[in-house]
């Protein structure tokens, strides 16, 4: 089977005043089409750095990164990114924010009506058709994040990259968006890489959980396959022994094997 994203021996170091700082080293990961991967680890372990590398926002100091057999040489529309702080442009409406992305990818080949339709479809996917003419400051944090997801998905990316997309939301909104995300991913058959620090979120959503060791020079510690049947239901899983077993594996990794001294 073709690997969608392939990361081999990637190392990332940053120049600082006190010499080079190695953030990541010996990262190797292969991601299959349609797979949902979460990156989990303590803060500062470089999981966001790894995501930014796949996004092409930063370049690795060493190693090879491929997306659909092509080298990642910078950001591209084949990789849609959802930022933690939504990053919508405040002077554009929800429609215009998504349209900006649609126009960039399909503007050369499709008519204006088709572009508008794509934009509307993307907003309908996240159930925000009613808010398309609203500005970001007029909608809630959860809705903003949904627009961010719509913007990323509207480009029909090969991979959807999400950097703690629900981290800034309250617990109930977060649960609601996780459920929506599961439906969207199932409907669009998307390949997803998501950074999180929430163990429940990781187990609920993932096919595989990539657990990262503490930095500096962080690397992939363990990879846990989550073979719970889909579609998953958070209420049913709350009483599922296997779910708790998987959860315990992640917790053990984070709080025993990679225990952090009190910060």
């Amino acid at each position: 089977m073709k690997k969608y994203v392939q990361i081999e021996n990637v190392q990332m170091s940053f120049e600082t005043k006190h010499g080079p700082f190695v953030a990541l080293k010996d990262i190797a990961l292969k991601i299959n089409p349609g797979e949902f991967i979460t990156l989990i680890g303590h803060s500062g372990c470089g999981k966001s750095t790894l995501l930014n590398l796949i996004a092409g926002l930063i370049m690795p100091t060493d190693g090879v990164m491929l997306c659909a057999d092509r080298e990642i040489a910078g950001p591209g529309p084949d990789r849609g990114v959802v930022f933690q702080n939504h990053s919508l442009l405040p002077w554009l409406t929800c429609f215009e924010n998504v349209h900006l992305a649609v126009e960039r990818v399909f503007g050369a080949t499709e008519s204006k009506a088709q572009l508008a339709q794509r934009t509307q479809e993307a907003l309908a996917l996240v159930h925000l058709s009613h808010a398309e003419h609203k500005y970001p400051h007029e909608i809630s944090g959860g809705m903003k994040q949904r627009v961010g997801i719509a913007r990323a998905l509207s480009m029909q990316p090969k991979v959807l990259l999400m950097d703690e997309p629900f981290g800034a939301l309250d617990a109930l909104t977060r649960a609601h968006l996780q459920d929506e995300l599961m439906k969207i991913v199932a409907a669009t058959n998307s390949t997803v890489v998501m950074v999180t620090h929430d163990v429940d979120e990781a187990v609920l959503l993932s096919d595989r959980i990539v657990m990262m060791t503490n930095g500096p020079a962080a690397t992939i510690g363990e990879i846990l396959s989550v073979d719970l049947p889909k579609p998953r239901n958070r209420v049913a899983l709350a009483n599922d022994a296997y779910y708790h077993c998987l959860r315990a594996v992640v917790l053990e990794f984070l709080y025993q094997k990679q225990a952090r001294k009190a910060a």
Partner: protein, 257 residues
């Protein structure tokens, strides 16, 4: 009923008290002086003056309305030219670090110079009073526009630039959809500062260059020893300045996100 009274007490009472006290103080000072006219005398004079604001007798004797409009015209042209040159320059200085470092010593050195010091250069180059006055306005309003626009560009949040990079936007799209709207509030601050300075400077510039304008009018009335008119001119300059400021604040409000 209580709400209206409370509103009046909170919003209108303090400024009205201030104005009344100011006029009382003025009346007291005028009462003890034989040269300074009091509020009543000034008011009477203003009524006469504003009953015919747009007369034209000789080139140097025109209504107060013409004087104000002429001054506003000079400010408008000088300020407009400054915006036309200063804002694009500010964008470039903000966007390209090399250009910033290149121009920064020159801007820092020239900015604190009183705009009036540029008047002789204007007279020398244009050989006429009117363009020289416009030139002074241009010089005084260009610095805030360059500096604030450049600052706005430099303050652009990294998040927005990341969006531009992930969406792979063209330079033109980055400018129209991200850079320009993000910089607009800073630009408007620059414009506000610039128009404030320009209106401040025009009175002094016109005193030196002459012609029709509120500044020269003040000087002319000083030569006529018509002190009431000088006081009226001070109020007129103040009120027009206030109106310009309020107009720009209203515009800026529309573009704050």
């Amino acid at each position: 009923m209580m709400d209206i009274r409370k509103h009046l007490a909170e919003h209108w009472l303090p400024p009205i008290t201030g104005i009344v006290l100011f006029i009382l103080l003025w009346a007291m000072l005028a009462h003890g002086s034989d040269t300074l006219p009091g509020p009543v005398k000034t008011w009477d004079s203003a009524v006469v003056l504003f009953s015919d604001p747009f007369y034209r007798k000789t080139p140097n004797d025109q209504g107060i309305g013409w004087n104000i409009l002429n001054s506003l015209g000079r400010v408008g042209i000088g300020f407009g030219l400054a915006a036309l040159i200063g804002i694009p320059l500010g964008f470039m200085i903000g966007r390209f670090d090399f250009l910033n470092k290149m121009t920064s010593p020159i801007v820092s050195m020239l900015r604190p110079v009183s705009p009036l010091a540029w008047l002789p250069i204007g007279l020398l180059v244009f050989k006429a009073a009117n363009p020289a006055a416009i030139w002074v306005i241009f010089i005084s309003s260009i610095w805030p526009m360059i500096i604030n626009t450049a600052m706005g560009v430099r303050q652009l949040p990294q998040d927005y630039l990341n969006v531009a990079r992930v969406l792979n936007l063209s330079e033109w799209k980055i400018f129209t959809k991200i850079l320009f709207p993000a910089t607009l509030p800073y630009m408007l601050t620059g414009i506000r500062l610039a128009i404030g300075t320009a209106w401040l400077v025009i009175v002094a510039a016109e005193m030196l260059t002459g012609g029709v304008g509120i500044g020269f009018w003040v000087w002319d009335e000083w030569n006529n020893l018509n002190v009431e008119h000088i006081i009226i001119a001070i109020f007129v300059v103040g009120i027009v300045g206030l109106l310009l400021e309020m107009l720009l604040v209203q515009i800026a409000k529309r573009f704050s996100y």
